[in-house]
Symmetry: D3
Subunit: 284 residues, 6 copies
C-alpha cells in the first residue's frame, strides 16, 4: 500500500512563464524515456518479479517509489512554466490580439485546450504516453540492462533539453533529475557488478562535464549521485546491493539514506479565462 | 512524496491457473476505464488542481493513492492466474504438444512472450494503455462529472468481466474492486451534491443486484462501499466532503477511515521455461 | 444538412448467434478498408473539393450518403450476431461454467465488456479505427484512383470474410455490400473513363465468380451493381458521370435511381446480464 | 437511411486567411471531444440501443443527425481559414521566400501536404482521430452521463479556443457551436432529470459569461440554447424528453423545432500550386 | 540476401542549415506516403507474391531495392539540414539565449532530443511511422493499383513540400525523388497496361509543369523518368514489363539500366553539445 | 546502394500448415523486439552516425544488412505456415463448415483478410509495428547498450516462442535466428569490451541450455554464434572490432566471414479462394 506526504521532492525555483520550455519539458514527463516510463516500468518489474532474490526486487521497487515523486515534480514545474503565459507581453506577440494566441505559436496548443494551462501525459511532440514503452522482460539480467539504458537515456535527453531555455525553474528541475538519474544509473550498474560485470570507465553515460550544467553541482556536492532515498515504511534489502564503491568514474561510496527534506506543493492560482476551477462561476 | 509498505490492499484467493481469465482481467488493469486510467487521471488532476478549495484536491488525491494499490492488486491477481498455465493439462489441449502451446489459444500470447507469464500494461484485446485516456479538464465540475462516469464504468465493466470465469482469485479481486468503485462513485457524487445536485435514486450505476455477485456481500457488510481509506501521512481535508448520508440508494453514513489491514505480497515462483529470473542459469 | 428516415438500407436475415462471425465482421465496419473509412473519406473529399467541376463532387458526396447507411447496416448485423451469444449452448463450451465465458474464446472480449454485446469502432483484430485511414489528397485524379482501390479492396476483403462463417445474417449483409461496392467501383472507374482511361477487362476487381457467393445473385439481378441511389433532397449532377455503359466486363447500363425500399431497424432486446439499458434496475 | 440537402447549418463569416487558427480549430473537428467524436459516439449509441424506451434512442439519434452537419461546418470553416494562406504577406514571413514556407511556422504542415490546404481528421496537435474516443457503454444512465460530460467539455474547449484568434470566421463558427453544445447539454441533463436527478444550479458547465463571447449572444436570442432541430423525415419521440423548463440556470422552455434555414456550401477556389483539383493540368 | 556498397544514390548539394525544412522533409521519410512506406510495402508484396508470373514480382522487388537507398538519401539530407542548426544566428532568434532554443520554435524538438540532430522514423507532424501504412493485398491488380496511387501521391506531396523552402539540399533531393517517382509511376502504369488498361493522357499524376521545379530538369534530361535501375546480382525479369513506349504523356522509351554512379556517404561531424558520439568524453 | 541475390539466408524446413504458429511468429517479424525493429534501428543508427570511428558504423551497418534478410526469412516462414491452412482438416474444426472458419479461431484473422494468407507488419497480438520502436540515441555507448539489450531480448523472446509449437518450419527458423542473435549479442558486447567493459560470465543472455532447443545445435557447430557475415561489396572495418575471444561464456574466436550459402526463395502457390494473384480470374 502507498502513502503520501504532501511535499515535492525538490523545490521549484521561481522564474518567468515560458510556455515553449513547458512544451519540451513534457518529454521528461511523458516521453519514451521520461519519468512516467521509469515509474511504470519499475512498478511492473516489481510486481512481476520472480524468485527469492528479493534484494533486487527491493532495489527496483525503491527506485519506483522515487519516480512517483519525480512525475509530480515535473508536472508541477510544467505548471509553473505555463502559469501566466496567456498574459499580455508573454511569449508570442500575435497579430490578432486574442488573449491565448500564444497557444498557436511555439507552445503545445493542448496545454491551453485540454486543461487550464497544465501538464499532460504527452511528450515534447505532443504524442500521448503509451503502455508499450514499459518493459518487464521477466529475465533479471535483461531487466537490469534495460533499466541501465533507460537511466542513461534519461541523462542524455535531459542534458539536451537543458540547452533549450535558460529559465531557472526549468533548469533547476532538470539538474536535480540529471543527478538522480546518475544515482539510479549507479544502482543498476552496481546490481550488474554484483553479477560479475566490470564497467571500467564507461559510466556515467553520457560522461558530461558538470561545468556545463552548473545547477547540477550542488546536488553532486550533497552526494545525491551516490545515494538512494528510502521511502519504505517497512524493511528493505536494497542496501545489500547499493553499497560500496560507486561503479562510475565519479568516485564515492554508495549508501541508502532517508527521504530528502521536501518542499511545499505549490497552490496554483485560479485561471478564470480557462474556467478553472470554475467554482466562482457557480456562485455568481 | 510517496511511501510504501509491502502489503496488498486485499488478499488474493488461491485457485487454479486460468490464462483466459488473465487475458480479460487485463481490461481492469490497462483498459480505457481500468485502474491505470483512474490512477493516472486522479494523479494529473491532483497536481494540476487550481484554486483554494483544497478539500476537493485532497479528495481526488486520496482516491489516487488507493488506485496505486489497486493497480498492484490487479497485477498480482493476473500473475497468479497465469502461474502454472504452461503446465500439462492446463488450458488448451494443443495438437503439437509444445509446452507453451496454450499461448496460441484463448490466451494473450504476449503474457508468454513479453514477460514470464506476467501482467502487462494492456487491455483485454491486448491494446497498450494510452496517455490519451487520462483527462484533467481543469474545470472542477467537469472533472468531477468525468470521474463519476469513470467509476460507474468501472463497476459496469467489472460486473460483466465477473461473468467470464468462475475462478475464485479472479472473482474475489473483482468483487473487492466493485465495492471500492462504489465508494469512489459515492465520493464524486457527494462532491457534486455539495455543489447542489440531488441524485435521487440513480446511484449506484449500474444498479446491480448484489446476489448476483456474492463475493461482494462481505465487503458491503464491512462497510467498504461507504468509506474512504486515508493513506496520508499528514493532514487531509477530504472528510469535509466525504461525510453524512450516502448519495446512493444503498443507505449508510460516509466516513474516512484508516488503511485496511492488507495482505502479504506473494512471492512468485521461478519459471525456468521462461528464463525467469535467470540467475540460476548464471550459476550453472 | 442531413436528414434521416428510420430504415435499414437492406434487411438482415435472421439466424443463430455467432460471436466469432461478429468478430471478423468488425473488419467491414472499422477496418482500414471498411465502411467507416469509405464514409469518412468521401465526407472529407466532398467538403474539401476545389473547383467548379461539381459533377465529381456530387458523385463522391452521393456515395458518401449511402456509406452512412452501410455503417448502420453493419452495426446492426454485428448486433444481431451477438444477441444471445452468452446463452447456454452457444459458442464456446467453457470449463468454468460462467455465463459470458464465450468472451474469452473466439470472440472479441470487448464486445462483452465495452458495450452490451454491441458493435464497436474497431477491426477484426480489435484495433480502433483511425483518422489516418482517411485520405483526401486534393488532387482529383489521385482521389478517384484512391477511391477505386478502396472499393476494390472492399470487395476483396468481403469475399474473403464471407468464407469465415455460413451464418445467413452474416453472408446476406456481405453479399449486399459486395454488389454495392461493385457499383461504387463502377462509379469511380467511370469517372476516370470520363478523363480518358480505358479499363479494358480488368474490372470488377477481384473478378469473382458469382456462383461462389450465391447470395449476391439476386442483387445483381436487381441491377444493384449498375445503379447509384440518390439520397439528395435537392439537385445532384452525379448522373452526368454515372450513365452509359458499365466500365466493367459485367455489361449493363449505369443509372441513378431513387433510394431502395429499406427495412425496419430492429429493436434489440434488453440484456439484464450486461446491465442494458438498466432502466428496469432503476425501477426495482 | 440518410438524406442530404446541400446547405451548411450556419453561415461562415468572411475574413482573412489564418492558418494558425485553422490549426487549433482542428481540435473541434478531430479532437478527443470534437464533433467527429460526438457524431460517431451518438451514431454507435443509437444503433446499439437496447430496449423499448425509444424516446431516449430518438433523442440521441436526433443529436447525432445534427452533429453530421457540425462536422461539415467545421471542415468548411477550416478550409476558409486556410484559403490563400500561401499568398505573399500572409502568416509567416519566412527567410527563404518559398511560397509555402508558412507551412513550417505556426501551421499544421499536413494542411499543406496531405491535401490542398484543407481540413483533416486530426486534432490541434495533429494527432489522428481514433475509434477509441467513441463510447457506447450499453447502460443508458452511463451513456447519458458520458454524453453530458462530452457536451460540457465541448463548451469548455471551444471557449478556450475562441481566445486564440480574433478571426471572425473562426469566432462565429465557435460561437454557434458553443450555443448548440449548450442545447445538447440541456438535452442530456433533461433526460437524466426524467430519471430523477435535480441539477440545481450547476449547468451550464462551464458557467461562462456570455459577454466574453459576444458572437454567442444572437444565437441565445434566437433561442438556440433551448431547441433541438428535427432532421427526421419520419416520426420522432424526442420531444417526450426535450420539453418543459430548461435544466440549466439560464431559464427558458425547451422545444423541438424544424431545421434551421441553412447557408450555401461554399465553392472553394482552385489551387494550382497544390495541384488541386488538377483537371486544368490535364487539359493543358 | 542483401548486399551494400557505401554510396548514396544521388549527391546532396551543400547549403545552410535549415531545421524547419528538415521538419517537413520528414514527411518524405516517415510519412504515410513516404519512402519507408514504399520500401516496406514493396518488400512485403515481393515476399508474399503468389503464382508463377515472376516478371511482376521482379518488378516490385526491383523498385523495393531502390527504395532502400531512397530512405538512406532522405535520412542523409535531413541530417545535413540539421547540422549546425544549434549554432548562433541559425533559425530561431530566441529570447533566452540557450544554445538549442531553436528546438522550441519551428523545428521538430525530437530532432534535438531523441538523437543528436538526426533523422527519425516520423512524419512532418512528428507522428511515428506505422506498420498499418503497408499494404500487401495479395491480389495483383489491387496491389498494382495501390502502388500506382502510392507513387502518384509521392510526387504530389513532394511538389508541395518543395515549395516550403528554397534550400538547395532540400530541393535537389526532392527533385531527384520526384523524377524517380515518375519512373515508378510508369512502371506500375505499364504493368497495368500489360493487363489491358489504356491510360490515355492522365499520367503523370499530378501533371506538373517542370519549369516550376527547375532542379527536376536535368534528371529528366538524363532520362531518369523512363529507366529502372537494376540492383540485382542475379537475373531479373522486370524488363519483360518495363519496356516499350512510356504510358505517360511525357513520351519516351522505357528501359532497365545499371545502377547510377552514386555519391559518397557523408561523414557527419561530432556534436559535443549533444554528446555525440561521446567517445571523446570517454577519453577525457 | 543496396543489391540483391534471390536467396533466403537459411532454408525453410517443410512441415504441415500451422496458422496458430504463424500468429505468434509475427512477434519475431513485427514485434517490439522483432526483426523489423533491429533492421530499422541499425539502419537509422548507421545513417545518423557521427564522428570518425567508422569501425563502429561498419559494425552496425553490417548487422543491419543481415537483418534485412532475417525479415525476409521470417516473412517466408510465416507464409509457409499459413499455406493450406484453409483446407479441410487443418486447424479449427468449426461448426459452420465455412472454408476459412479457421480465421475466427486461434489464428490472426488479418492473415486471411488483409492479404492472401501472408505475412503482415504486426506482432503476435496483431498490433502494427511502430516507428517509435526504433532508437537512434546519437550517443555511441547508449546505442551499443541499447542494441545489446535488443539482441538479448531477441533471444529471450524467441526461446519462449519456440515452445508454442513443435512445427518444424517454425522451430528451425527460430533456432537459426537464436544463434544469429547470439552472434550479434557478441558483436555489441565486444564493441563495449573495446571501450573497457569486462562482461565476466553474464553472456549469453538468457543463458539457455542448448539441449532444450536441439535445432540450435548444428548452427553452433557451424560456428554461427561467433561469425559475422560480410554483405559489403566494398571494404568494411567491422573486423577491427569483431575479432579475438568471444565476450560470452561460450568460448570461441570471433571472425568475419563471407555470406552463407543461401537457399531458394519459395514460389508460393496460387490461392484462388483468396483471389490471389487473380490473374487467372482475368483470363476466364
Amino acid at each position: 500500500m502507498y502513502f503520501y506526504k504532501e511535499d515535492l521532492i525538490n523545490p521549484i525555483i521561481p522564474d518567468e512563464p515560458d510556455p515553449a520550455a513547458a512544451k519540451v519539458l513534457q518529454e521528461v514527463l511523458g516521453g519514451r524515456f521520461g519519468e512516467m516510463r521509469t515509474m511504470m516500468q519499475f512498478f511492473f518489474q516489481s510486481s512481476n518479479f520472480r524468485g527469492p532474490a528479493k534484494e533486487f526486487r527491493d532495489l527496483i521497487r525503491g527506485i519506483f517509489l522515487e519516480e512517483i515523486s519525480h512525475v509530480e515534480l515535473v508536472q508541477s514545474t510544467i505548471n509553473q512554466l505555463l502559469n501566466g503565459s496567456g498574459e499580455p507581453g508573454v511569449g508570442n506577440q500575435g497579430t490578432t490580439g486574442a488573449p491565448l494566441e500564444e497557444a498557436t505559436a511555439h507552445s503545445n496548443p493542448h496545454h491551453f485546450i485540454m486543461g487550464a494551462q497544465a501538464s499532460l501525459p504527452v511528450d515534447a511532440a505532443g504524442l500521448p504516453w503509451q503502455g508499450s514503452y514499459v518493459y518487464s522482460h521477466g529475465n533479471l539480467i535483461t531487466d537490469l540492462l534495460d533499466n541501465l539504458v533507460l537511466e542513461s537515456t534519461g541523462v542524455l535527453q535531459k542534458t539536451r533539453i537543458y540547452e533549450m531555455s535558460s529559465n531557472k525553474a526549468f533548469r533547476e528541475t532538470l539538474a536535480f533529475l540529471i543527478v538522480r538519474d546518475n544515482a539510479h544509473q549507479n544502482a543498476y550498474a552496481k546490481a550488474l557488478e554484483k553479477l560479475g560485470v566490470n564497467w571500467a570507465k564507461i559510466f556515467p553515460v553520457p560522461n558530461y562535464d558538470i561545468n556545463k550544467y552548473p545547477e547540477c553541482r550542488k546536488y553532486v556536492e550533497m552526494g545525491y549521485n551516490n545515494v538512494l532515498f528510502n521511502f519504505r515504511l517497512d524493511e528493505t534489502r536494497m542496501a545489500e546491493i547499493f553499497q560500496g564503491e560507486s561503479p562510475s568514474r565519479s568516485s564515492g561510496q554508495l549508501s541508502v539514506v532517508g527521504p530528502p527534506q521536501g518542499a511545499p506543493v505549490p497552490v496554483l492560482p485560479e485561471m478564470p479565462n480557462e474556467h478553472s476551477p470554475g467554482l466562482s462561476d457557480l456562485n455568481e
